[in-house]
Amino acid sequence: MQLLTPEGERVHHPDFDIDITAEQLRGLYRDMVLVRRFDREGNALQRQGQLGIWVPLLGQEAAQIGAGRALTDRDMAFPSYREHGVAWCRGVKPTDLLGIFRGTDHGTWDPYEHRFQLYVIVIGNQVLNATGYAMGQRFEGKVGDQDGEATMVFFGDGATSQGDVHEGCVWAAVYDAPVVFFCQNNQWAISEPTERQSRLPLYQRARGYGFPGIRVDGNDVLATLAVSRWALDQCRTGNGPVLIEAFTYRMDAHTTSDDPTRYRLADELEAWKLKDPIERVRVHLVKQQWADQAFFDEVQAESDELAAGFREFCVNMPDPPPGRIFSEVYADEHPVLAAQRDEFLDYLHGFADASTGAQGGEH
């Protein structure tokens, strides 16, 4: 499914067409440029030792912005760890992502306020959690018409092999859960190509579960937006679940720790460069005369400003205070942990004033 070709030609599809204004398309363009810009800054910050690791989304901007902009305020999103573009659409500040990669926290945004859950690193776990959440939406009667709620869960091509993803599909089917399974097939799970996970195109798996599966050009923001909107509407009106396979490409390394030259050819990358998600929108905006140079300059300036702020925030992030590891492990005070915390703080105190002869540190 495609609505905008890599050459920036608008094409039409009988089932999934979309009406888009100049302003809306400029908005999608801006989203993608800004997200790409801070993503690149994340890489640079890691190289400069400011982050322990960065997980780049380069190449997946259209998939994420299309899906992210299809979500309404009522919907809930469950990300994996690469969904910086979806986070952006949910109003999570890019700087709120930094702590995870700098090692100060596991995510600082409020998952309820933003209706965007925390990042999940264990491959596939969030798919079952999203399904359970969607079951809850249905059990509470929030499904049935255009005002209904839906859930969208993000995972990769590699994740489709995990039991949790299979079970999520089974549960969602059995309980008519209003959940959109949004698989970004970026062709790689670290060093393993999609053929290591499946014989069939991934979207075809939906058939076995008894719900629709659609492959969309994940580098086409219009197509991703249209299909995601349709899928979410199916869910909110009580016709879920739906599987979307966004066919895209991981243009960068798996993470900043990875060296993709060990397992994939530069040719492949070059071929995908021609399908760049941002460039085709730029070409279309120009062709339609929907944007002038001033607009592009403005977005460029805005993105540089965003990146500068991102960097500034990162390098000034304070280390968390000692003792922080003991907070919020449990909802209620836990006596063993409280004792360990006190013992640890006493121990640290002993260093500050060696003459007091601290007790504790081990038992």
Partner: protein
């Protein structure tokens, strides 16, 4: 008949080499695969990439895709199919990419791998090795720094070991592959690429399920394993400058525990400090303390002390130095023991 690992000592001039732990494991895996065509390596990214830590580097190139499998991304699948391959007579070596990702496989490990020999009255052998890079200190994101060894040591039917140096890595992986029981093989990932050590491959290895006194001492005993061995040896060196003479024991085997050398040591020093990165409650250090007070009650001059991780989730990496036992915390415990 496959030649036993014991007999694979190197008899040529190249017996003395400089090895990192990563290289030792890689060479050990290679030796085991050469010795026995039934040995398979399987896991995520272990083939073409050679593993995210390059422990299996070059093996797929030399042994082919049928002996070094880049599996689909599912740990339950990796271990569950390894169980089936073992039923068929293979000796699979599974790599779990990081400690925190073993849990999808926990069911297969506990329900099938650990119990099949017992259930089949010994008819079905389970010579499966599960390699797990474990422990913290590498500045990683969540789930990449955990020490889950107690879960496995608590499970009947599993054997659990941890190497702490390049030479042990080379031999222990081969001995584990040779073992007819399932072995959970914990590799201290932060030590993988530490300074290479000179090793002599012509000396036969000691038995796998045995601990070892690494440093003789008289003041107090440190017992440790995996990543904490280096920490304890460093602590002993530092303590020596203050005239404190620490004995250091590397457990090597976590199940079965080989505590006789620990008992002998405690009878000599009267003091024991058990050191581990794992959380404290219901852990291996708890087991060690119990057994030592039972066996050495009259020799103890101080209670057995523990230096461990805390009973919290592993923290974000900027806080991991608070969580992990380090030289200072070990020495602090030594002081407390001596002052008792």
């Amino acid at each position: 008949m496959v030649a036993p690992a014991m007999d694979r000592t190197v008899k040529t001039a190249s017996a003395t080499q400089k090895l990192t732990m990563a290289k030792g494991l890689n060479m050990g895996l290679r030796a085991a695969m050469e010795a026995d065509p039934k040995v398979l390596v399987m896991g995520e990214d272990v083939g073409k990439l050679g593993g995210v830590y390059r422990i299996t580097d070059g093996l797929q190139k030399d042994f082919g895709e049928q002996r070094v499998l880049d599996t689909p991304l599912a740990e339950s699948g990796i271990v569950g199919t390894a169980v089936g391959l073992a039923i068929r007579g293979f000796r699979p070596v599974c790599e779990i990419q990081f400690d925190g990702f073993v849990f999808p496989a926990f069911d297969q490990i506990v329900s099938q791998l650990a119990k099949l020999h017992f259930r089949s009255q010994g008819r079905v052998k389970m010579p499966v090795v599960i390699r797990i890079p474990f422990g913290g200190g590498i500045g990683a994101v969540e789930h990449h720094s955990e020490s889950p060894e107690s879960y496995f040591a608590h499970t009947a039917g599993l054997r659990v070991v941890s190497c702490s140096n390049p030479l042990d890595a080379y031999w222990m992986i081969q001995q584990a592959i040779e073992c007819d029981d399932p072995v959970i093989f914990f590799e201290p990932k932060r030590r993988y690429h530490e300074r290479a050590q000179e090793v002599d491959l012509s000396v036969p290895p000691q038995p796998l399920f045995s601990s070892r006194v690494l440093r003789q001492g008289s003041s107090a005993t440190l017992v440790c394993y995996g990543p904490m061995v280096r920490t304890c040896l460093d602590a002993a060196t530092a303590a020596a400058e203050d005239g404190i003479d620490l004995e250091v024991i590397d457990l090597r085997t976590l199940s079965p525990l080989d505590l006789d050398p620990v008992f002998a040591s405690v009878r000599k020093t009267g003091r024991l400090i058990a050191v581990s990165e794992a959380p404290r409650e219901s852990s291996l250090t708890a087991e060690i303390a119990t057994r030592v007070q039972q066996e050495c009650f009259y020799s103890l001059e101080a209670p057995v002390l523990r230096v461990t991780g805390f009973d919290t989730p592993y923290p974000p990496s900027k806080l991991e130095d608070d969580f992990l036992p380090d030289l200072d915390r070990v020495l602090h415990a030594v002081d407390r023991s001596l002052a008792w």
